[in-house]
């Protein structure tokens, strides 16, 4: 192709070849500079390739043909001949091919997710085309200038000669301009790739964060926009703080089976219960609830988007989180006998408002107003309700690890299971309507979580002499990622009696969603002017995640009212806990009550409990 150069006058030939050489040399130098030192072999290959090209180009330019002077004496076909430049060329080509295809992981940055050249094709193509257009414009201007300049020099020469020189000049100029244009386009793509690469990596990092993975973000050594690493670190820290601060309508301790160890992950109240935060709603929608009634084309992201309270967009509204919840209980006592009693109890109908503020949502205020049955023990009035506020408190977390909360809330003690009929809740006075006013300090570390609660009774509901006053504390230790061992202590008194309770509990997660929880405790009651009694209780609750949203539960409840009397009560039974779709929980529990008495042989009693729990 370059044979036409041999027709050029000597000085134009020299100029053209020099320009071409300079161009290739420039490309070559760029490759040597920008290719990683570990790609030495590739650099050698390119050097050989370039040497081969130059050898042949020189031959063709100077002679119009190449001199293939090396032949194989044992091969008769004379066309099988080559020269040293050919050898260099082939060695270069094979080396480059070998590096490109067999050592690709060396050429591309290790662990490269951005292997493709076009990360954002539209933007990159636009950038490259604009870059090329600028280069073409500059080439054009330079060409116009030099053409005019040369024409002036050639004016004294005869017309034909001037025209021939001018045409040849234009051909060479055009070829070189096209070459520059191509190179400018490639450089444009390369530059845009280098700029877009870190942005792509950052975009993927953000996607992973949204998917719940918070990995460290690191750019390549030679990448631009290193500032993104700092921004990613800042985002990571902020998310961690959010996670700790605002880290579901219902999040139960059993969710250790899903690797959620702390209530703080999903609740505003770090000890659980009450409304859930945005993260908790998301977890509830995608990790807890089933999607039996969700169409296949509804993505998990859509479910998360629908998990918010209707009309509240968490992206736009950062300070207000309303919550509505209802829990109804269908209870059948003495089930499977002729004298069974069935009733429906509206256990809870709550409206809650959470106000939160601060850069890390470190200020929280939660207000709940709702109803409760008038008298839980008075069967005649069970359907009647009266107003009741389960919680109203303000909270402040000066650091992500420590928080102070003041107001009405649940007592800090033991496993906060939702089964208020079991001994661990009933006997310890930590059941559904045993909230108290007080101050709680909560701290959480990597493996330790602790809370201390000073309380003065329920100021709204209780008469002064019946108010529970005292303190309680809980310490939980993460033995492993899937196991939490805890101890609790509570001392409280009214004008009628005092009570000291202590317990040890353990929560263990298995596989995905399966768990066991156990609590053993002792309660000592001292009536005013009477003899003290010591009670013991035990709880074992098991959960097996059958399919998404559906748990098969097992409950073992043990209670000995007085340790000096050998009367013991066991409550055992299976159950189903089903979250068919988000914001809905259905439960069916069967509980067999068996009493081992010193002086009687009572028949077993059966309880069937059916719960409907919905929330917004």
């Amino acid at each position: 192709m370059l044979g036409f150069l041999s027709d050029l006058p000597q000085f134009l030939l020299v100029i053209s070849l020099s320009a071409l050489s300079a161009f290739f040399f420039l490309v070559y130098i760029c490759l040597l500079m920008y290719l990683h030192p570990r790609l030495l072999g590739l650099k050698f290959g390119i050097s050989f390739l370039l040497a081969g090209i130059f050898g042949n180009v020189l031959d063709k330019a100077l002679r119009g043909w190449t001199v293939d002077w090396i032949t194989f004496p044992w091969v008769r076909d004379e066309s099988v001949a080559f020269n040293l430049a050919d050898s260099f060329l082939w060695v270069g080509i094979l080396t480059v091919i070998w590096w490109v295809f067999r050592r690709e992981s060396d050429i591309w940055y290790p662990g490269d997710q951005r292997r493709q050249i076009w990360h954002y094709p539209k933007e990159q193509l636009g950038f490259s085309l604009r870059f090329s257009a600028i280069m073409l414009g500059m080439c054009g201007m330079l060409g116009f200038f030099s053409y005019a300049f040369i024409q002036q020099i050639l004016l004294p020469f005869p017309g034909d000669l001037a025209t021939t020189f001018g045409e040849q000049y234009l051909v060479v100029l055009g070829c070189l301009s096209l070459l520059f244009l191509a190179v400018a386009f490639v450089i444009g793509v390369w530059l845009s790739h280098r700029m877009m690469g870190p942005i792509l990596a950052f975009e993927r990092h953000v996607e992973e964060i949204l998917a719940g993975k918070n990995k460290e973000f690191r750019l390549r050594e030679g990448d631009m926009l290193k500032k993104l690493e700092e921004i990613a670190q800042l985002i990571g820290k902020t998310l961690l703080i959010w996670g700790l601060l605002t880290t579901v309508a219902q999040a139960y301790p059993q969710y250790i089976g899903l690797q959620y160890t702390s209530c703080l992950t999903c609740h505003y109240n770090p000890m659980g219960n009450g409304p859930v935060n945005d993260y908790g709603r998301g977890v509830g929608a995608t990790g807890i609830a089933g999607r039996m009634f969700s169409a296949d084309d509804v993505s998990e992201e859509d479910l998360v988007a629908n998990s918010a309270f209707p009309g509240i967009d968490p992206q736009k509204n950062s300070w207000l989180r309303p919550f509505l919840g209802y829990r109804g209980l269908g209870l059948e006592n003495n089930a499977f006998t002729g004298n069974s009693q069935k009733r429906w109890i509206n256990m809870q109908l709550d409206a809650n408002l959470v106000l939160k503020g601060g850069a890390r949502d470190q200020y929280i205020a939660s207000f709940t107003i709702g109803t409760r049955p008038t008298e839980i023990t008075d069967q005649n009035n069970l359907m009647e309700s009266k107003s009741y506020s389960r919680e109203h408190y303000v909270g402040w977390r000066p650091t992500p690890k420590v928080g102070v909360y003041a107001g009405k809330m649940d007592k800090v003690y033991g496993l906060r299971i939702p089964d208020h009929n079991l001994s661990s809740r009933r006997a310890t006075k930590t059941a559904q309507f045993n909230q108290v006013h007080g101050v709680m300090i909560h701290g959480v570390g990597e493996t330790i979580e602790a809370a201390a609660h000073y309380f003065v009774g329920d100021l709204n509901e209780q008469d002064e002499d019946l108010r529970d006053k005292g303190f309680s504390g809980l310490l939980e230790w993460g033995v492993t990622e899937r196991q939490r061992l805890g101890i609790s202590y509570m001392n409280s008194s009214t004008t009628l009696d005092s009570q000291t309770a202590m317990a040890i509990h353990d929560r263990v997660g298995f596989g995905k969603g399966h768990s066991i929880m156990a609590e053993l405790g002792q309660i000592t009651r001292q009536p005013e002017g009477g003899e003290s009694t010591t009670s013991r209780y035990g709880l074992l609750q098991t959960h097996l995640l059958w399919w998404r949203g559906m748990w098969l539960t097992g409950t073992f409840d043990y209670y000995q009212r007085d340790t000096t009397v050998e009367d013991e009560s066991f409550g055992v039974g299976p159950g189903l806990q089903w979250f068919p779709w988000q914001k809905t929980e259905l439960r069916l529990d069967v509980l067999n009550r068996r009493i081992f008495s010193e002086s009687a042989a009572p028949e077993d009693a059966w309880q069937v409990l059916m719960q409907v729990h919905v929330w917004l």
Partner: protein, 301 residues
């Protein structure tokens, strides 16, 4: 052109043929070379990375890219050995290859080293393992100890007539279990000898009451287990049968007899793997119209 390429590559042919024929040997040799290279040249980074992978504490260490590359290839090579050149029986060698492949690939995963390939390789390896484990069925012998409680149903006959009475029993049971299955399901047969005691009495204790009536027997239960999370937990459905004797005291004019000779029913069971050989197991069963429940431990021999 073709002749040139053939001439240039001719020296490599024997080696290529040998490599194809002895592929497994070649991979093992490569692993050995790569491991010794890694420990010799990148020992410090390797120790830091291994420690972090095991503990996952602190910040991800910055390590030489060559180490990541080396780990990636070690992972790939072990994965090849596991996936393509294994016995398929999940023997010790296969498990070693699987664990090593997972270790190396999991080590480079946080660094996003060839992340697409690493994730793809891990998931393929895992599915190969699951498929193999499903295909492999084993039989197991296990020992069990359980705290068991059930309600004995009896019929009281005296001068006053007949009355259905009950006796809540509780006691301990020792026995064994034979199970056959794979990682997805198990058929098990439990046989547990138990001794229990409990009061028995009429509604009016003055008519008839006896304290600590003892019962001995054999508790047999064939169970189908649906294993979850590769056996970490399981849901069982069984048919418990009680073969027992109850020592009622019968005062003059009074007879007490069991209402069922061989009570049987159906159960829902749960189990959780506490350690690789120890399971916690629970049973809630309807037997003879009353509840039988148990909680205990099963140890695999």
């Amino acid at each position: 052109m073709v002749i040139r390429i053939l001439l240039l590559t001719s020296l490599l042919w024997p080696q290529m043929i040998y490599a194809q024929v002895n592929r497994k040997l070649v991979i093992e040799r490569k692993i050995s070379q790569l491991e010794s290279f890694t420990s010799q040249k990148l020992g410090r980074d390797q120790r830091a990375l291994n420690l972090w992978v095991k503990n996952k504490k602190g910040k991800m260490p910055r390590v030489n890219n060559r180490l990541l590359k080396s780990y990636y290839f070690l992972g790939v090579l072990h994965a090849q050995l596991y996936s393509k050149y294994s016995s398929g029986e999940e023997n010790r060698e296969d498990l070693t290859n699987f664990r090593k492949a997972r270790f190396y690939l999991k080590a480079v995963e946080p660094y996003e080293y060839n992340i697409d390939k690493v994730e793809d390789r891990l998931s393929k390896m895992e599915s190969v393992r699951i498929e193999r484990m499903k295909a492999i069925t084993n039989s197991y012998w296990r020992l069990m100890v359980q705290y068991i409680s059930y309600q004995e149903l009896a019929l009281l006959k005296d001068a006053g007539g007949e009355e259905n009475i009950t006796s809540p029993q509780r006691g301990l049971c020792f026995g064994g279990q034979f199970a056959y299955g794979n990682t997805e399901y198990e058929w098990a047969l439990d046989a547990c000898a138990y001794a229990s005691s409990g009061n028995v009495g009429a509604k009016n204790p003055a008519r008839y009451f006896q304290q600590d009536v003892s019962s001995k027997g054999l508790y047999v239960k064939p169970t189908y287990w649906k294993l979850l999370a590769e056996g970490e937990a399981g849901i069982g459905f069984g048919v418990p049968v009680l073969l027992r004797t109850v020592d009622y005291t019968e005062p003059a004019g009074v007879t007490v007899e069991s209402r069922r000779v061989i009570p049987f029913g159906f159960s829902v069971d749960g189990r959780w793997r506490m350690t690789p050989l120890m399971n916690l197991t629970t049973t809630a069963a309807m037997v003879d119209g009353s509840m039988l429940w148990s909680i205990g431990l099963i140890y695999q021999l």
